[in-house]
Symmetry: C2
């Protein structure tokens, strides 16, 4: 991992772009973070629409987290943004779009093709990023994972012991195979569900919440549609991380 | 309404018992509440097991609310505590116990007999208490309703315009007729559900949450069983009232 750019935001947050091999990423650290005052880290998941497109929402989450004393970092997902194209993923996305536009139910085959290869490929990349991020003197632990493709969050929660708490967004398709993995999750979970999210299968989200093996898990369902997560829901998620990462 | 006793708790909260006709009640006000600094009020619902039995939990909620700057008040439910017996309610409770002990499904008839007369009788009592409480110079508005028999909370939310926000506990049986009333609720709602509450019908609780007509409604589902609501869930409910009553 090497840094490719660095700037200070107006609230003192240090924003550094980096490259992890071919993978672009961004790291945000609170002004006060230093080798003698290392801070916890939250990995910021996102839906894989490209970091550039997602930047406004990501930097807003990063600023909030920095105000709470957390560093945050994210990396580009495979097949997205400026990373090499991934024809199989593009095909799965096209199949999904076609099914949704035709008003057809989205088949298990489409969901599996869309999500499972992405989870398989992305998870070790996030782990490799974690290796390098935790080697920075100003980044300590513990580590949380927040948002993005929920199946990546599930896989990371199962395979990555350095992640001690996860805030997940029940807003994307979940392959049936991930329900089994969900049973293996034992870390504290904070799950957001937009109750009136037209593009999301609410019952599947409730079944997934039920499946999680964690003794401490909370579901926060709110109104506002897929992109209308209310401010107070973000505050509640921040409090969840404050409880578990401090 | 007249006060029958008065004492200061160690945190400065003023606790006053009162009688509203034959109905006993308790009012807690923060130390700083006065005619020139009137405070909002939260009505504390409870499950109707008698105020004496519920006192430890009620006073804990009252102290937390007082620390947030809220007065709280509660009254005994009809047929409970030291109030005159109510044979029909006792019969419905006995029928419920018998069905549950036999492992039978609890019929709509039992639920209706248990809850609907209680809602009909209790609601105007809470409204009468509200009349007298709001006449006290140290109690201003707005008014919230919190917890207890959820069907009483629903009815109050529909018929009592002085209640501007309600925190409800999805932990008791709900007659089918109350689902229709739930559609008429428009005030902001914060609904707690204990996901692993053995004695509660989870699907009915989710259906009820879906039925509420409120544009702002949040469901917070947590683990811990019926009586194991985690501390952070109480904090989240307090933040809900702080958003709406201040």
């Amino acid at each position: 991992m090497h840094f490719t750019s660095e700037r200070r935001l107006d609230d003192g947050v240090l924003e550094r772009e980096f490259a992890l091999g071919e993978i672009p990423g961004i790291l945000w650290t609170p002004e006060a973070a230093s080798a003698s005052a290392a801070v916890p880290l939250i990995l910021l998941g996102h839906p894989g629409l490209g970091l550039h497109k997602m930047y406004p929402r990501l930097v807003a989450r990063a600023r909030h987290s920095a105000a709470e004393g957390f560093a945050t970092a994210t990396i580009e997902l495979p097949g997205s943004g400026n990373r090499p194209g991934w024809p199989a993923l593009d095909q799965a996305r096209a199949d999904l779009r076609r099914a949704m536009q035709a008003g057809e139910p989205v088949s298990d085959e489409i969901i599996d093709a869309l999500v499972l290869p992405l989870v398989d490929r992305a998870t070790p990349e996030w782990q490799a990023a974690l290796d390098d991020l935790l080697a920075l003197p100003e980044i300590g632990g513990p580590v949380g994972y927040s948002g993005g493709v929920i199946s990546i969050g599930i896989r990371l929660a199962v395979v990555e012991p350095r992640i001690v708490a996860a805030g997940l967004f029940a807003g994307s398709f979940v392959p049936r195979a991930m329900f089994e993995e969900a049973r293996q999750v034992t870390i504290p979970l904070h799950v957001l569900l937009q109750w009136d999210d037209e593009g999301n299968d609410r019952q599947a989200a409730l079944d997934l919440f039920d499946a999680f093996g964690s003794k401490e898990k909370s579901l926060h369902a709110n109104m506002g549609g897929h992109t209308g997560v209310p401010q107070y829901a973000g505050d509640a998620a921040a409090q969840f991380f404050a409880r578990h990462l401090k």
